[in-house]
């Protein structure tokens, strides 16, 4: 089980960051996106390599209107 943006995701332990982003409809080349796993930034370059361990908290963020 993985926490992706606050929602539980089951049966996907060990998938890569890139695969998780795909879940969100984000293609690997997408600009304006950043990912943190357990409070650490995962650089764009590692998305395809970096596997996400069970129980990890993943935050996938992008630009929203803000002051």
């Amino acid at each position: 089980m993985i926490w992706l943006n606050g929602r539980e995701l089951d049966g996907c332990d060990g998938v890569t960051v890139a695969e998780l982003l795909a879940e969100l409809g984000v293609e690997p080349a997408a600009r304006g996106v950043a990912v943190a796993v357990d409070g650490e930034v995962v650089p764009r370059g590692e998305w395809t390599r970096r596997a996400v361990a069970a129980g990890a908290r993943v935050e996938a963020l992008t630009a929203m209107q803000g002051g």
């Binding site: 943006n5 950043a34 963020l61 992008t62 630009a63």
Partner: protein
């Protein structure tokens, strides 16, 4: 000094002295039009969780408009969250620039002086160009400059309050001592507030709600742009002193004896 002089932050030249916040606009089309009429070159954005449902066009709108993104750390209440958010913003937008917000209270959204200073110092050490949203405390503004911030952004009044510049004296004290650009951030409600900020010696104004939540945002974008330009021109033109009594603008000599 001339009205045409660009605003220089961390070595970068900006012709526009109005920075636009993108929050609060009802529709992206309205935001796009407001950007055009404000002539802003730099606009703020927040970082939030990707919403698969949401049409993903904000960044496109900004790209079309040819403006640069200034990400903020809005919503962070600790130095640690703000620093991490800044790192994510750098990753997402490929910019070292960050509008640093560390909030201390949900109701007033006022900055937390101590956490802000800690976050600023860390981000500067990590090579960020830090633009901190701060109170109108002249000492805190000085500390932020001392730790290497590229500008200081004191508030006029709470975010979105439209109360204008509650304490012009503090803004004046900040300007007197600052050797980095001073950008009035938060509190502007209308054109005269923006003009006053510049007349007090601020180098620029950052404005979101006053424009985005006005009844006619694009018209208010023009209005506040004019206020910023008028205020800067007035500052450079050297205003007349204030005095209690009158000073005739028509001569008394040569007056007819009727």
């Amino acid at each position: 000094m001339s009205a045409a002089d660009p605003l220089i932050i961390a070595g970068r030249e900006l012709r526009s002295r109005l920075i636009l916040g993108t929050g609060g606009f009802p529709r992206l089309e309205t935001l796009a039009e407001a950007i055009r009429l404000s002539a802003a070159e730099l606009v703020t954005v927040a970082l939030r969780r990707i919403d698969p449902q949401a049409p993903h066009s904000l960044t496109e709108v900004l790209r079309e408009r040819g403006v640069d993104v200034l990400p903020n750390t809005a919503g962070c209440f600790t130095a640690r969250d703000a620093v991490l958010t800044a790192q994510l913003a750098r990753e997402a937008f490929e910019t070292d620039w960050i509008k640093l917000e560390v909030i201390g209270d949900e109701r007033t959204l006022l900055p937390d002086a101590t956490e802000l200073l800690v976050a600023a110092e860390q981000l500067v050490a990590q090579g960020f160009v830090v633009l901190p949203y701060t109170t109108d405390d002249p000492v805190l503004a000085r500390r932020l400059e001392d730790v290497g911030c590229a500008a200081v952004m004191p508030l006029g009044s709470p975010i979105g309050s439209g109360m204008g510049i509650r304490n012009p004296y503090n803004v004046q004290l900040i300007v007197e001592r600052a050797s980095v650009p001073v950008i009035l951030d938060a509190g502007v409600g209308t054109a005269s507030d923006a003009a006053l900020a510049m007349e007090l010696g601020c180098d620029a104004v950052l404005c979101a709600s006053a424009i985005s939540r006005a009844q006619d945002p694009p018209a208010m974008a023009r209005a506040i742009r004019a206020g910023v330009e008028g205020g800067r021109l007035a500052r450079l033109a050297g205003r007349i002193p204030r005095q209690l009594h009158a000073e005739a603008s028509s001569p008394f000599e040569g007056l007819a004896e009727l």
